[in-house]
Assembly symmetry: C2
Homo-oligomer: 431 residues x 2
């Protein structure tokens, strides 16, 4: 039952590209050869680069990490870790092991020796719950928290002089109700896939591999992507029932991605971040019970768009630019304190962000209310310019504070992608 | 933007039947008419009974409630409620309102006047986050907890003399670590759909509708059905990485369903349960970190099956009957203390259950471990014969207690389906 391990890097389409073929087709293509063969076939299609598009594999290696400009998948499992490794060598070994495992899983392969292929008297190298499932467009994106570089003045891994200036602690915003156990972390792993079991399998195995070197600090499951990151995707709805992410950066806007998402041009101690980006994660609980009792008129004025179509209240259709009255136009305007106005680039010095968040529902609180909302994720070139000013303006809005409460927070430096033979973070930690 | 409300009961295929047509096909069929039209089309296909199978609608009305013998969907959101209604009339009004809302949602329609079709200065009748999503095979199954009939000697709703004898409080099992906040409830609502946003939308709206009459006690999200309930479905894997539910009752085993699932032949105060069943829900946390460090040999001996194929260790393939050595056969046997042996009908007086559980992952605990496992759901004709003996035997197993901990529990009487014009539970509460 052992399986061969593909060692050549995939050379398929770029990270932003996905082949739209169903799992049924994949299994049909794999024929009667069984699950192992099917998984092998997925890997093969990506490796061979032979024009076969019957793949739901997102290539792992590249200039940028996958899972950022990649078309947003349907499900997410993100976990932050506290590093317990004794020193830099152990941290490097963890990142090497993670890189190999991520490459396997992204290709639809079982990790290492597989779920059943190793020694019978040893724990399997893969936990196995993704056996028989396709790669499901799995991407795993790894980032570094500020505490990895320095924690309470302690330079655990000799990285203090490589802390990027953009990797800030976010300031306190009005209305923040952050829970320590949902904040921060030395490392973050964002796993996205169309099948939640594939995303959970990825995080669970990375946590297993990290045993003794890092442990889970918090984790979050999300569903129903709240943003579309390609023009092929319809704009999904958040738990307020409104379309969310209409004005999001798309993965074919190369110039805008270069300006607003990808880090470039740094030298010296921060040069390792070129090709990377920053991930801002905020767990935003929505007071949906309060919202659900608000009149439709109030909901639409709050958002600044119509609920059904997502058109700005100034008129037009979903993708019509909202009119905030700045240019003195007659007719209906979008209120300047609406969500769309506060979040709009025109109100934020022209900055844009690549949003890639997910809805969440984590059971209920002790008061009979659902603990539900938005796990906000944005990838930006610099949180200081591309997140803090916007959030500061939003948090001052009385409208928002009635319905939203930020309960978790993290900022992570996401290094560039791994080239052939490299591990994630090699530019920072050396090889 | 208002939408017409279909009032005729659907007359499509039976609850156990699903049309296998993709959402893409549905939207293509709906054409360019927009979201409202698309949703209307779903409802229409089911209502018209015109042979159109381009529907992912599971009919709501029938002899039995949907969501039991229905082919298991991919996602689940289950919530239990404490009733706060002042008396029986308010409880009846809640069940009437829920029935109407469930019928709308199951047909792919927005609830009542819709998400945007009501008065502009009133809260919408539907929260809207499922606009543009298909019915997604949504089923919502409603059940009654023991406390609805009598709570601490108080007969709140005049139902004490109609308490079914099978609606027991489960005994304490060895190894139970039940959390009060995850147990019990006067009412339960199990929403299943292929799209989690559709399932969450259902529970969220039922909670909203219940405002002032019932409030959420606990809720649980699940993914990756852990059982197949039709022969068309491959056996999925649980978070131990093993196929789960190989020996499950299938929805085409009518005689077995009649014997082991559907209540029948009751008279007097319990007659309202004829056509119903009992739902046993157990939140079973898996100590996956411990499991992941166990050798493959130990894992397979614990389960009694091979990990990759799911074949019994006595040989054969997945669907070969396990050999426990009872008939004195030579060759390898399945250990009598393995999971498959303890759960097998031969060890439990021939009883079978319809399992319909889901995997769950609820973030992590404070100790760096994922809070993950199985939300076990079984539908049985009588928990006293069809659950308690098996669980008692399993809980005595040292093997299991190392890896499993039951943290939540509930038993609910699931009344029969609603006929034309009826509300769910009408047989109990009267019309």
């Amino acid at each position: 039952m052992s399986r061969e391990r593909d060692t050549a890097p995939p050379s398929g389409p770029g990270p932003g590209r996905r082949a739209g073929v169903s799992r049924r087709t994949l299994f049909a293509a794999a024929g009667a050869g069984g699950l192992g063969v099917a998984a092998g076939a997925f890997g093969h299609a990506a490796v061979a680069g032979d024009g076969v598009e019957a793949s739901d594999v997102v290539p792992f290696r590249g200039v940028h990490q996958a899972g950022i400009a990649t078309e947003a998948q349907e499900r997410m499992h993100t976990a932050a870790f506290d590093v317990t490794a004794a020193g830099r060598a152990e941290l490097v070994s963890l990142l090497r092991d993670w890189t190999a495992a991520i490459e396997d899983m992204a290709a639809g392969r079982e990790i290492g020796g597989g779920a059943t292929g190793g020694a019978y008297d040893a724990p399997p190298a893969d936990t196995g719950e993704a056996m028989g499932l396709s790669a499901s467009h799995l991407t795993v994106t790894v980032g570094f928290g500020r505490t990895l570089f320095a924690r309470g003045g302690e330079d655990r891994f000799g990285l203090a002089d490589r802390l990027p200036s953009a990797l800030i602690d976010l300031p306190h915003f009005p209305g923040d109700a952050l829970e320590e156990a949902r904040c921060g972390g030395d490392l973050v792993v964002q796993a996205c896939a169309d099948d939640p079991q594939v995303a959970v399998h990825a995080v669970r195995n990375l946590a297993r591999i990290a045993f003794g070197r890092a442990r889970v600090r918090w984790s979050q499951i999300g569903f129903g992507r709240t943003s579309s990151t390609s023009r092929d995707q319809a704009t999904p709805r958040n738990l307020f029932g409104f379309k969310d992410g209409t004005a999001n950066l798309r993965n074919d806007e190369q110039a805008a991605l270069g300006e607003h998402v990808w880090v470039s041009g740094l030298a010296g101690g921060e040069a390792w971040m070129n090709g990377g980006t920053y991930m801002v994660a905020r767990r935003i609980r929505m007071h949906i019970e309060t919202w659900d009792r608000a009149p439709l008129s109030e909901q639409e004025n709050f958002v600044g768009r119509t609920k059904r179509e997502g058109a700005p209240l100034s008129g037009g259709t979903e993708f019509t630019a909202p009119d905030f009255g700045i240019e003195g136009r007659d007719g209906p305007l979008v209120a300047v304190d609406s969500h769309v106005a506060l979040a709009h680039p025109t109100a934020n010095g022209g900055v844009r962000m690549l949003r890639r968040g997910f809805n969440y529902t984590d059971g209920s609180d002790g008061l009979g209310r659902l603990d539900a909302g938005l796990f906000f994720i944005a990838f930006v070139v610099d949180p200081r310019t591309h997140y803090v000013p916007m959030q500061a303006a939003m948090a001052r809005s009385d409208l928002l504070s009635e319905y939203l409460r930020h309960t978790g927070s993290g900022v992570f430096a996401v290094p560039p992608g791994a080239g052939a033979g490299e591990y994630l973070g090699q530019g920072l930690l050396g090889g």
